[in-house]
Symmetry: C2
Subunit: 432 residues, 2 copies
C-alpha cells in the first residue's frame, strides 16, 4: 500500500490508508488510546481500541511507525478526521524519552536546552514551521531575480583577503598560507557584474562576532544581489523592493500551512516603499523626541524603531527606505551622491523598525577606488585581483544583501535569531 501524508487524509475518507511518521503523543482513555502521528505534512489522530492497546501503550514518544487504518470523519478530532481500526509496524524505536517534550502546543524548554537538542526540538511543528518559511522566502528571492535576468553564482568562501575591515574575520591555515572565511560575497559579486551584469547568491557568510546578542550569529545565510547599468541607488532599491515582495508572496504560495500554524500573515510590501532622507529623519526625530541626534553618523536602534512607527502611521507601510547616510560610516566601495560628496548613494531598508537590508551604488571607476583607498589609508595590494575588474571597464552598479535568518525572525516574530537558524553558531556554540 502506498503511503499517504497526514494532509492527504481528507481525500481518503472511508478508505484504508497507510500513514508513516513519528508517534507524536498518546493519550490513554478508559477504553481506547488517542495516538497522534506526526509526519512532514502535519499531525493525524489515530484511535486504538481493543487488543492492540497493550502494544501501543508501550510505544515511546518518537517511535517511528507505519499505521494502516480506515479514515473516518469525526467531529471531535482535530481537522475533523481520524484513523480507526489501526495496525502498527515499528520502523525504529527510540532508546528512551526525548530530551525535549514535543507533545505540547509550544515547547516549554528554555532556548539553550532547545538548541542543545536541536535535532529533536526542531521536530516540533511550530519549530520547523519557521524553516519552511525560510525555504519559501529563499525560493521567492531566487525566482524573482531569475525573472529579472539575474544569474545565480557560487563564490568562494575561502578568501585570501578579508572583504570588510580586519575585525570579525575567521582566519585559517590554507596549505601553509593564511586564508579567511568570506564575510560577504561583496567583492566577487561586483567582479561578476562585469560578466553577467546581474547576479545573486544565496550562501553562508562568516563573522567572528565577539558579541553574544539576540541579533548576531557567527555564520548566517546571506541573500546577495548586484546589478550593472543602474542610474543610481534608486535603480537598486526598485529591484530590492521586487525581491522582498517576491519573498513575501512565496511564503503564501509555498509555506501556507506553516504560516497558518504560526498565525502569521506575510508582510504587505507597498508598490513603492516610502523613502526618507537620513538628515530629514534625524530632524523629525529631534522635533518629536527632543533628543539631539542631528550630526550623528548613524541611526540608533531606538531611532529606527521610531521611524518604523512613523512609516506605519504616515504611510501605512511596514517598510521604509532610509537614504542619504553619511559616507563616513559606509565601506570604501560606496558611491557618493554626485551633488553632495559627504553623502552616500546608499540605503537601508527598515522592516517594522529594524534594519533588514543594506545596499547602495558602488564606485565603478578604477581611479575612484584608488582615491577612496588612499583617503582611508588602506593598501591596494591585497585588493589587486578585485581592482583588476575595475581596470577593465565596469558599468555603474550597485546591490544589496538580506540576512535570511533575520528576515525570517522578523516575519515570524521570533525574539532571538537563533530560533530561525537550524544549528546556530555563536561565541559559545559550535554544536550540534
Amino acid at each position: 500500500m502506498e503511503r499517504v501524508l497526514s494532509s492527504e487524509l481528507p481525500a481518503h475518507v472511508g478508505e484504508r490508508v497507510k500513514l508513516a511518521g513519528w508517534l507524536h503523543h498518546q493519550r490513554q482513555m478508559r477504553s481506547f488510546i488517542f495516538v497522534v502521528m506526526r509526519d512532514r505534512a502535519g499531525l493525524a489522530q489515530v484511535v486504538v481500541e481493543g487488543p492492540p492497546m497493550g502494544e501501543v501503550a508501550g510505544f515511546l514518544p518518537e517511535t517511528v511507525l507505519e499505521v494502516e487504518g480506515r479514515v473516518v470523519p469525526s467531529a471531535q478530532a482535530p481537522g475533523g478526521i481520524e484513523v480507526v481500526e489501526p495496525s502498527f509496524r515499528v520502523l525504529s524505536a527510540p532508546t528512551g524519552l526525548p530530551a525535549v517534550e514535543l507533545f505540547r502546543p509550544s515547547l516549554k524548554e528554555q532556548l539553550p536546552t532547545i538548541l542543545d537538542n536541536a535535532s529533536i526540538a526542531l521536530r516540533h511543528p511550530r519549530q520547523r514551521a519557521a524553516f519552511s518559511i525560510a525555504a519559501a522566502s529563499a525560493a521567492g528571492f531566487r525566482s524573482t531575480l531569475d525573472d529579472l535576468g539575474f544569474t545565480e553564482i557560487h563564490t568562494p568562501k575561502l578568501v585570501g583577503t578579508a572583504t570588510e575591515s580586519g575585525a570579525n574575520v575567521f582566519q585559517l591555515d590554507y596549505f601553509g598560507r593564511p586564508a579567511y572565511l568570506a564575510q560577504s560575497p561583496q567583492f566577487y559579486k561586483q567582479m561578476l557584474v562585469g560578466v553577467f551584469e546581474r547576479v545573486y547568491e544565496v550562501g553562508p557568510v562568516f563573522r567572528a562576532e565577539p558579541h553574544d546578542t539576540v541579533r548576531h550569529l557567527a555564520e548566517y545565510t546571506s541573500l546577495d544581489a548586484e546589478m550593472g547599468f543602474i542610474e543610481d541607488h534608486h535603480t537598486v532599491m526598485a529591484v530590492a523592493r521586487e525581491a522582498v515582495a517576491g519573498m513575501s508572496t512565496a511564503i503564501t504560495e509555498r509555506a501556507g500551512p506553516a504560516a497558518a500554524l504560526l498565525g502569521l500573515t506575510p508582510p504587505h510590501v507597498p508598490e513603492v516603499i516610502p523613502e526618507v532622507d537620513f538628515t530629514e529623519a534625524q530632524t523629525m526625530i529631534e522635533a518629536a523626541t527632543g533628543e539631539r541626534v542631528l550630526g550623528e553618523l548613524d541611526l540608533a536602534p531606538a531611532h529606527e524603531r521610531w521611524l518604523g512607527d512613523w512609516a506605519l502611521h504616515t504611510h501605512g507601510s511596514d517598510f521604509l527606505f532610509v537614504t542619504g547616510y553619511p559616507m563616513a560610516k559606509r565601506p570604501f566601495y560606496t558611491h557618493p551622491d554626485p551633488t553632495r560628496p559627504s553623502v552616500s548613494n546608499s540605503f537601508d531598508l527598515l522592516f517594522r523598525g529594524l534594519e533588514l537590508m543594506t545596499g547602495g551604488q558602488r564606485l565603478h571607476r578604477y581611479e575612484d577606488y584608488i582615491a577612496a583607498l588612499a583617503e582611508r589609508q588602506q593598501a591596494t595590494e591585497p585588493l589587486e585581483t578585485y581592482l583588476q575588474a575595475f581596470r577593465a571597464g565596469m558599468p555603474p552598479h550597485g546591490g544589496f544583501a538580506i540576512g535570511l535568518e533575520r528576515w525570517t525572525a522578523r516575519v515570524t516574530g521570533a525574539a532571538n535569531i537563533r530560533e530561525t537558524t537550524l544549528f546556530p553558531r555563536d561565541l559559545n556554540r559550535l554544536a550540534p
Copy 2:
C-alpha cells in the same frame, strides 16, 4: 530611452534603440568601423560611419558604452541584424588593454593566465556560458526536489567535528577552540530527515585536498539530498534519477542560448537508469580485458570508463548505476545489504564513464551506529549531537550528493574542473 538587450534587437527592426554593454571588438575597414558590443545576452554588431569614426577608433576593448542607433536587417551581419547611425556615450573607460584577449571565438590563453585574470576572462561568452549552465542545473535540481516535497536547508559550515575521516579537513580557531570547515552536510542532512523527512541543500563544501589534479578542488558546490521512509537504496536512486533528469531539462529550458553557444545537447536521462552490481561489473571487466580485478574493493577510473562504454553500447545510456560496493570502502553510516552483510546498500552514478554522484541507504538505528563505530574503533563522543537524532527515532533513510562543478564539466566537456568554477580554490590558488 529604455535599454534593450542584444537578444531583443530582432523585435526592433526599423526602430531606434539604446544598447548598453562592453566594447567587445572593433574592426576598422576603409570607410567604416564594425563595433561588436557585448551585453549579458550576447553580441550585437554596430556599424560606424563618418565623423564618429575618430572617437570610436580611440575606444579601448572593454570600454563600457551606451549606444543609440537604428536596427536594420543585414545579410552579412551575425544574426542577420545590425545597428546603424550610432551615437555613443562612454559610461566607463578601462585603464589599458585587458590581460586576456576577449575578441577571439575562444580564448587562446593558457588556463593559469585565464584563472589569474578571472574577472576578465569570464567575460568571454564561451567562458561565462558554462556558468549559465551551472545556474540552470542548480535551479533544476531544486525545482525537481521542491516538487517531490523536499525542504531546502542551510546547515553550518563551521563544525566542531569533522564529517568524514580526519584527513583533508581545514581547521581554524573558533573563539579559542578548534573548529573545522564542513566536508559535507552529511550529518546535518541526516539529522534533519527527523524533522522534514526530505531535505536538500545547495552549498559549499571544503576539502583540504593535497592533490593538484584536474578533478579536485579545495572548495566546491555540493547538491545534497536526503530522504526518510525509504525501502532501501533503490528508493533513493529513483529520486536521484529525477534530480538528474530535472537538471538536464533545466539546461534546455533556462540556458538554451548558452548550450547552443557551446554546441552541446543536454544529456538524455533514461526513464530507468540501467544498474549493474559491483561484482558482476568486475566479472565483466575481467572477462573483457583479462585484468584481475575481482576482489578489489573499488573501481579504478579505467574500469569506470569501461563500464561507461558498456552502458552506452548495451543500454544506449550515458548513465549507469553501480550498486553492491563492499562495505569496507564506504563510510561508517552506510547501511549493509541485509542479505549480504559485507555488501553495502549504496550506489555510484556513472555519467559517460565518470563518477558523478555517490549515495546510499544509511543506518537508522542507534545501536547499529554504536556497533559500526566500535568496529571501526572510532569514538562516539565527538559524534554525540549527531547520534542524539538516532536515539530519538529515525526512519530508514538515504541520500546522495552531486558536485555541481563536476556535473557542469561533464556536460560541457571541460577537461579541467577549474573551467567550471568561477574562482577555483586548490593547493596553489587562493585568488582571485
